[in-house]
């Protein structure tokens, strides 16, 4: 499958399989999941666009404020994932708090050179790793390594939302923030 054909299935996985991980045990979660691969045009620069993103607003049950986190996902089709892909995902940390490499690989074997190299590089740089063997089978997705938190510049979030999100998603996010500020 081509990379662009994987966006929709991965989008479904993020909603159905991944999003629950972000939910505080007793708190609240609101999230927006978007395909951002083709947004923002060329002016945003090389390796600057995660293919998909999740904006999560979460609050613990006894928490005072809501926390906004941005999660970026770089999708790599079968046979196209190398150490360079890890660096590509890593580059997104100038914008996102958590970055993930989402890799289509038919067989996952940690003992193999390919898998162990990718996994160790991801672990070294704090890049999360998700693999799947069949894009449309949501049960074939597995989180191999959770992403570590990164701290992009404070204005980076606004920059990302303004340049990568659709108008509908921007409006929805702004409505939520206005509501939750009250």
């Amino acid at each position: 499958m081509l990379e662009r054909d994987l966006y929709e299935p991965v989008y479904n996985y993020l909603h159905v399989g991944f999003r629950d991980r972000l939910h505080p045990a007793r708190g609240d979660l609101r999230s927006i999941i978007a395909i951002t691969a083709n947004s923002g045009g060329n002016s945003t620069g090389l390796w600057s666009k995660p293919d998909l993103c999740i904006i999560s607003l979460s609050r613990q049950k006894y928490g005072i404020t809501w926390k906004i986190d941005l999660h970026g996902f770089e999708v790599k089709p079968l046979g196209c994932c190398t150490v360079q892909s890890v660096h590509e995902a890593l580059n997104h940390t100038s914008l996102v708090n958590f970055t993930y490499l989402v890799w289509h690989t038919e067989i996952w074997n940690e003992a193999s050179d390919e898998c162990s190299t990718i996994l160790s590089r991801c672990a070294h740089y704090g890049v999360g790793l998700i693999t799947f063997s069949n894009a449309h089978d949501l049960r074939s997705y597995a989180l191999r390594l959770p992403g570590r938190r990164h701290e992009p510049a404070p204005d980076a979030f606004d920059e990302f939302v303004e340049t990568r999100l659709s108008k509908d998603d921007r409006t929805k996010l702004l409505d939520w923030i206005t509501e939750l500020r009250r």
Binding site: P9, V16, K172
Partner: protein
């Protein structure tokens, strides 16, 4: 491939939403099944039962659920059903989501008054096709994109002959038809089987219908007699033999304690627990017969 089951009856107040909740809980608990509940009823009965009354407004604010789905459909945009999924279930036994789980696509009151306008607008825009056919095609494609995550998809259809209910019927492989043993309910059931399924939708050969007697009063002699005849096969209904009794415990089970609150299945269903288990097993036997 998941099994698609519609819970439908054009008559209101026969316990469709309650049956949907019971089936979701029962299948997830008894068989460890992964369940997706689609609330296609603007009255949001099963949404309130599985998520709590407060959830309806909260989800509306988040633009999640049937209202938003239909607005997207109306404007010709992609529905993206996965984006409307929320975790349901208030049972301690299902909290770990292993092996059984309940997810749902919720509904809300948003379109309750505006449904006729919605139908009229969409029909005007796309004159050639029937609205329920269009809706069912769109929903089928969306369900297929996430169904690998679920064993059973339950669709709670609204009462009345609206497009939403008909679309639900078109999607299903099995129809569970809760019906009470009153004259009106019985005649609606036979009309439904004859005219809607056979003549209008031409679904009679494509789906299997399983009438389920609900709100059964064992002390009512007329109902007892009717049940006896049904069991003897007099009405040729092929109904599930064991009725679901009218029980306060079941009404209480549908009163969700609120977000973040959990209870055990025994606490939730009380003395109606054997009815939950029996009904689940009877339905499971029938819907798994061809799979």
């Amino acid at each position: 491939m998941s099994i698609l089951v519609a819970i439908a009856n054009p008559k209101g107040g026969v316990g469709k939403s309650l049956t949907t909740m019971m089936l979701a809980d029962g299948l997830a608990l008894t068989y460890g099944a992964r369940i997706l509940v689609i609330d296609a009823d603007p009255q949001a009965g099963v949404t309130k039962a599985l998520l709590g009354i407060a959830a309806e407004n909260e989800l509306h604010r988040q633009r999640i659920g049937l209202g938003t789905i239909l607005k997207l459909f109306q404007s010709g945009d992609r529905i993206r059903l996965a984006g409307h999924r929320v975790i349901a279930g208030d049972l301690i036994e299902l909290r770990d989501r292993q092996p059984g789980l309940i997810d749902m696509i919720p509904s809300n009151h948003e379109l309750l008054g505006a449904l006729p306008d919605f139908e009229h607008t969409v029909r005007k825009k796309r004159r050639k096709d029937r609205l329920d056919v269009l809706l069912s095609h769109t929903l089928r494609a969306e369900i297929q994109s996430i169904e690998s995550n679920y064993d059973v998809v339950l669709i709670d259809c609204p009462a009345g002959p609206g497009a939403l209910g008909l679309a639900g019927l078109r999607l299903a492989q099995h129809i569970i038809m809760p019906t009470s043993l009153e004259t009106n309910a019985y005649s609606t059931l036979t009309d439904f089987l004859k005219f809607i399924l056979a003549d209008d939708l031409d679904l009679a050969s494509k789906v299997r219908v399983h009438p389920l007697i609900t709100q059964y009063h064992a002390t009512n002699t007329t109902q007892r007699e009717m049940l006896h005849h049904i069991k003897q096969g007099l009405y040729e209904l092929n109904a599930i033999p064991r009725p679901v009794p009218y029980a306060t415990a079941l009404q209480n089970a549908a009163a969700h304690p609120g977000p973040g609150a959990f209870r055990s299945v025994r606490e939730k269903y009380g003395n109606a627990l054997p009815d939950l288990v029996a009904m689940t097993k009877a339905v499971a036997e029938r819907i798994s017969a061809n799979h």
